[in-house]
């Protein structure tokens, strides 16, 4: 029984990872408005490792995820890391209030028509994608906890070293 439990524990992240249909595919390009102003286009960041985090203002783990990503960005920015948070709320006022209230240093983007969320097949919040320097989706994380964060950091370091 313990063996089965251990197998499920270890296999669950991998199963979740492989079930993402866009993994190992080129990340769909997009251009979105940033809350702080200006527009961001993904294809302009070829050559950088990019983290995309889809989040909602009512989702508590999403906020924890954004804070963790903020710390990660502070550490690895000089190694060529870019982080973008993509808000999927219908009502953007909460997202804008959050953006002005929190000290997140990376751009928070608005996707009011959900076109980008649909193209990335977002099925869970938070959902964090790791895109390599060639614009290929390498990993996806659908949860935020200490274990998944550690695994995510390992994957990120490996990508930055490529």
């Amino acid at each position: 029984m313990w063996l089965c439990l251990a197998a499920i524990t270890f296999c669950a992240p991998a199963m979740a990872d492989t079930s993402y249909p866009l993994k190992a595919h080129e990340a769909p390009d997009f251009a979105l408005h940033a809350i702080a102003g200006g527009n961001v286009r993904l294809s302009e960041h070829r050559g950088d490792v990019v983290i995309l985090s889809f989040w909602g203002s009512r989702c508590t783990p999403c906020r924890a995820q954004l804070e963790a990503l903020n710390r990660t960005l502070a550490t690895y920015r000089s190694a060529g890391l870019q982080v973008y948070g993509i808000n999927v709320d219908d009502d953007q006022t909460r997202a804008i209030a959050y953006a002005h209230g929190e000290s997140v240093t990376f751009p928070l983007l608005l996707d009011p028509q959900k076109a980008v969320s649909r193209s990335y097949q977002v099925d869970n919040l938070p959902m964090t994608l790791l895109i390599d320097r060639n614009g290929v989706i390498r990993n996806v994380t659908r949860d935020h906890n200490a274990k998944s964060e550690e695994l995510f950091l390992q994957q990120l370091r490996a990508l930055l070293n490529e």
């Binding site: 251009a31 979105l32 408005h33 200006g38 527009n39 961001v40 286009r41 302009e44």
Partner: protein, 312 residues
């Protein structure tokens, strides 16, 4: 046209596969080159030992005269047979057979020269072996000294001579160029297929100065139907300000009268949100139609100006 398109696609795929194969070969060459060089370098001193013996020098012209083609390979190969050490590297089975045959007939130089004259590259190596065998003592003497020298020479060869992969590099570069050319032709064919000249309409955006307007997005409607909404990033705006022209839209329209409406959004004077529109009624004839959305600064009014220009 469809056939040509498919044909081009197939040739592009073939070129890619050739490029991949060439890349694999170049990598293999880079990996194996040092080992080959070490083997050659180990063989080199034994060749010199072989030619230094007077008896070895004599039959060489015979071999050169009878079989001219393999003479280039003969000195080193013959040397390696005559005095080269066994551990210099693995030899082909046919070469080993030739060596054993040569030692068996070592007593008769005439027989050996006949054998070398009669046949192909491998037998052309025999004169060296035959030449060494009469001077057996000398050959044995050099044999003892060679392994250490060979190891030194191999080390020197590794350090001094880099692997020569220039030919492969050039081939790979040539294939890359072919792929780029094919890709370009494919792109042109694709555009001709999807947007034939008779129905093609292209809309471009250009910007001059930009002191009174910071462009954020352009929404384009043709015949009251939104065809594109494009967000401009700061980099793209910078490129436009440097004189760049952006192709905003490429599509098809039938011959006749049409209406184009463009909405420009951004920051206007005093950093205020600014949204303006521009309209153009145009007639599409036979042939491609090119339209330009120009953003200018009007100094007198301290306002931006939006203009739609029809390129004749």
């Amino acid at each position: 046209m469809q056939y040509v398109f498919e044909h081009r696609k197939a040739s592009l795929l073939r070129a890619w596969s050739r490029l991949a194969t060439a890349a694999v070969f170049s990598i293999c060459a880079c990996v194996t080159a040092p080992a080959v060089l070490a083997q050659d370098a180990a063989a080199a001193p034994s060749a010199s030992a072989g030619t230094s013996a007077p008896a070895a020098a004599v039959p060489a012209p015979v071999a050169a005269g009878t079989a001219p083609a393999p003479t280039a390979a003969a000195p080193s190969a013959a040397g390696s047979k005559a005095a080269g050490p066994k551990p210099a590297g693995p030899k082909p089975a046919a070469t080993k057979a030739a060596v054993s045959k040569a030692s068996a007939t070592a007593a008769s130089a005439a027989t050996a020269s006949k054998a070398s004259a009669g046949t192909a590259p491998l037998t052309a190596e025999m004169p060296g072996a035959d030449a060494a065998s009469p001077a057996g003592g000398a050959a044995a003497g050099t044999n003892a000294a060679v392994p250490a020298n060979a190891a030194d020479a191999a080390a020197q060869g590794d350090a001094a001579t880099p692997p020569d992969t220039r030919g492969l590099d050039q081939e790979v570069q040539g294939l890359k160029k072919d792929v780029v050319d094919l890709n370009r032709e494919l792109f042109v064919l694709e555009e001709e297929l999807l947007f034939p000249a008779n129905t093609q309409v292209a809309v471009f955006v250009s910007m001059d100065v930009g002191d009174f307007f910071a462009l954020d997005s352009v929404t384009l409607k043709i015949d009251q139907k939104e065809v594109i909404n494009y967000l401009y990033t700061p980099r793209e705006v910078e490129a436009l300000l440097k004189g760049g022209v952006h192709r905003l839209y490429l599509g098809n329209l039938k011959v006749g009268k049409h209406e184009l409406v463009a909405f420009f959004s951004g920051k206007g004077p005093n950093d205020r949100d600014y949204k303006r529109g521009a309209t153009l009624k145009f007639e599409k004839g036979i042939g491609a139609k090119y339209l330009e959305l120009k953003i200018n600064d009007r100094q007198r009014k301290q306002q931006p100006e939006f203009e739609v220009k029809d390129w004749e």
